[in-house]
């Protein structure tokens, strides 16, 4: 009984103390929603979303092909835009009930209230990241690829060993960087760039010999963006587990089971494969590096 009273008093006094000690306007927000029920009930178009009746989809700004086209997620073009609309449709939100929110990387993974219901920005699923956010079941199995220029010393590398002495680069916050460190294990630490655009610039300047990006991006930038660009090859899987992209949701979101169920249905129904071949079709070979 005493414990209950003191706890109640503590709860009662805490905001007052905060207001006095810190500053006005720092009062705690409403408590987090209760955990999702075990059995998912997903009323179509009436899920507990940020804005009732609307599904808010988050993604970074800018976003790049082939995941999004023209940095405009609302056009339904590009693999992730198409998947987002397919998921929304299956959840009971037609195209006009989908709102987009542009969320930078750090804002997407911070612990506070989120500005999106679901987020598709090529987030790779790892167990460690599950401590911070919820992931849906995976919607894409991804591989990493080494991209260089025909004139670069790394252009004719046939295996991982020959890349070990190259100066490599990747975008910050990507599993591409991890792939360099874990699988190629280069002699000089990799250069890390804010974006793939900066990495490409450093590559054309000769400041790095090769960059690592995900395979669909590799196909896109070698065919459309880099003059004389060349895919050296794709990196093998680490430990036999494929790297997979998942939809990111707030930790403990009530929507996670619903979204996962929809992704599973889209996969078994063949929609994901169809969208893959529509947006991610590869126009060339990428030999596996060993």
């Amino acid at each position: 009984m005493r414990e209950v009273t003191s706890f109640g008093l503590r709860r009662l006094l805490a905001p007052a103390v905060l207001a006095v000690v810190l500053a006005a306007g720092c009062a705690p927000a409403a408590p987090p929603p209760p955990p999702a029920p075990a059995a998912p009930s997903c009323p179509p178009g009436a899920l507990p979303t940020l804005t009732p009746g609307t599904l808010t989809v988050g993604t970074d700004q800018p976003v790049y092909p082939p995941w999004y086209v023209d940095d405009d997620p609302t056009n339904g073009q590009g693999f992730e835009s198409a998947v987002a609309y397919a998921v929304a449709e299956s959840l009971g939100y037609p195209k006009d009930k989908v709102a987009w929110s542009r969320v930078p990387f750090n804002a997407a993974i911070q612990p506070g209230p989120k500005t999106y219901d679901i987020n598709l920005t090529e987030f790779s699923i790892t167990e460690e990241r599950r401590n911070a956010v919820d992931f849906s079941t995976p919607y894409y199995d991804v591989k990493q690829a080494v991209v260089t220029l025909g004139t670069s010393p790394a252009a004719n590398a046939a295996g991982l060993a020959e890349l070990r002495n190259a100066k490599l680069g990747a975008q910050v916050g990507t599993t591409s960087y991890q792939a360099i460190v874990d699988q190629i294990k280069p002699a000089t630490p990799p250069a890390v760039f804010n974006s793939n655009d900066d990495a490409k610039l450093a590559l054309t300047n000769g400041q790095v010999d090769a960059i690592v990006v995900d395979l669909p991006t590799a196909f896109y930038i070698t065919s459309a963006e880099l003059d004389g660009g060349k895919i050296v090859g794709q990196l093998p899987l680490t430990g036999g587990t494929p790297e997979q992209f998942g939809i990111v949701l707030d930790k403990g979101s009530a929507l996670t089971p619903c979204v996962s169920g929809v992704v599973d249905r889209l996969r078994t129904g063949g929609t994901l494969t169809a969208l893959e071949s529509q947006w991610l079709s590869s126009a060339g070979a990428a030999p596996e590096l060993r």
Binding site: L13, V17, L18, P111, E128, R129, Y177, A202, N205, Q207
Partner: protein, 279 residues
């Protein structure tokens, strides 16, 4: 040996010591109460467990520390080289700007233009232009190492600030000092070197140290060119684990780096005050 204190003086000293002790105790107690209230208020917020796990996880901090320290080592090397370059270039530009006589107009105009340009341009843009633009020229013998190019950009930008600090110091020395030096038979150059500059530099040491602390943190911006500094190393760890603790680790390390500079500035300021009061 001072003469023995009178009874009244001894009494006064004892009273003052007692008051001082009492003040210390009151300050200590109020600090403890304040800290306890803040800590209690913070830990009572509904989101605290999430915040603690995301920003103050000891295991994540320990895991990120080696990488962040390795990044900080790059920061420190860039800092030392850049600061030397900045002081030299800044002093030269300040000197050029304070040259008198119509003959030197083009030099003065050039120096003024330099300050206007490099104090106005955002550091990030200068870093991009120099770090990615210079290697694109493909000139033989020009470095492509991003740490070198980034340091060059830092020197160019910060020298513009520091030149203005130096100039303010030089111009704060009263003209009568220069006149007195000249009347003693010193040449213009000698009077600048022996009379004006020593006073000017002493006066501007606190603002120079201020710029030095700012530089400590801006050194990390060379990471946009691909170099992995402390903040970038923390960012990589954050991206791997989705835990923000490495940012806090990097932040604390930078604070630790800035504290000695702050104390040096305090000591210098106190010394200057003492000297001025002495006569």
């Amino acid at each position: 040996m001072p003469p023995p204190a009178s009874g009244l003086a001894t009494e006064r000293r004892r009273y003052r010591r007692a008051r001082a002790r009492r003040s210390t105790l009151v300050a200590l107690a109020s600090t403890l109460v304040f800290a306890a209230l803040v800590g209690w208020g913070l830990t009572s917020t509904p989101g605290w467990p999430r915040v603690q796990q995301t920003f103050f996880s000891p295991s994540a901090a320990w895991q990120a520390l080696p990488q962040v320290l390795a990044g900080l080592w790059l920061n420190l090397r860039v800092l030392v080289v850049a600061e030397i370059g900045i002081l030299v270039l800044g002093l030269v530009i300040a000197f050029l700007r304070t040259l008198r006589g119509p003959v030197f107009f083009p030099v003065r105009a050039l120096a003024t233009g330099y300050v206007d340009l490099f104090r106005g341009i955002p550091l990030l843009i200068a870093l991009y232009l120099i770090g990615f633009g210079v290697p694109a020229l493909r000139l033989q013998g020009v470095p492509t190492d991003v740490a070198v190019l980034g340091t060059v950009a830092l020197i160019l930008i910060y020298a513009a600030y520091v030149a203005e600090v130096f100039r303010a110091g030089i111009e704060s020395v009263h003209p009568s000092q220069l006149a007195a030096a000249r009347s003693l038979g010193l040449s213009h150059r000698q009077s600048l070197r022996l009379v004006v500059l020593p006073q000017a530099v002493r006066r501007v040491l606190p603002p120079l140290l201020n710029d030095f602390v700012a530089l400590q943190k801006d050194c990390g911006l060379i990471s946009v060119l691909g170099a992995v500094d402390a903040v970038r190393a923390a960012q990589i760890e954050v991206a791997r684990s989705f835990n923000f603790t490495p940012y806090v680790v990097a932040g604390l390390l930078f604070v630790l780096l800035a504290i000695p500079t702050g104390r040096v500035a305090d000591v210098l300021a106190a010394r200057i005050t003492r000297r001025q009061e002495a006569g």
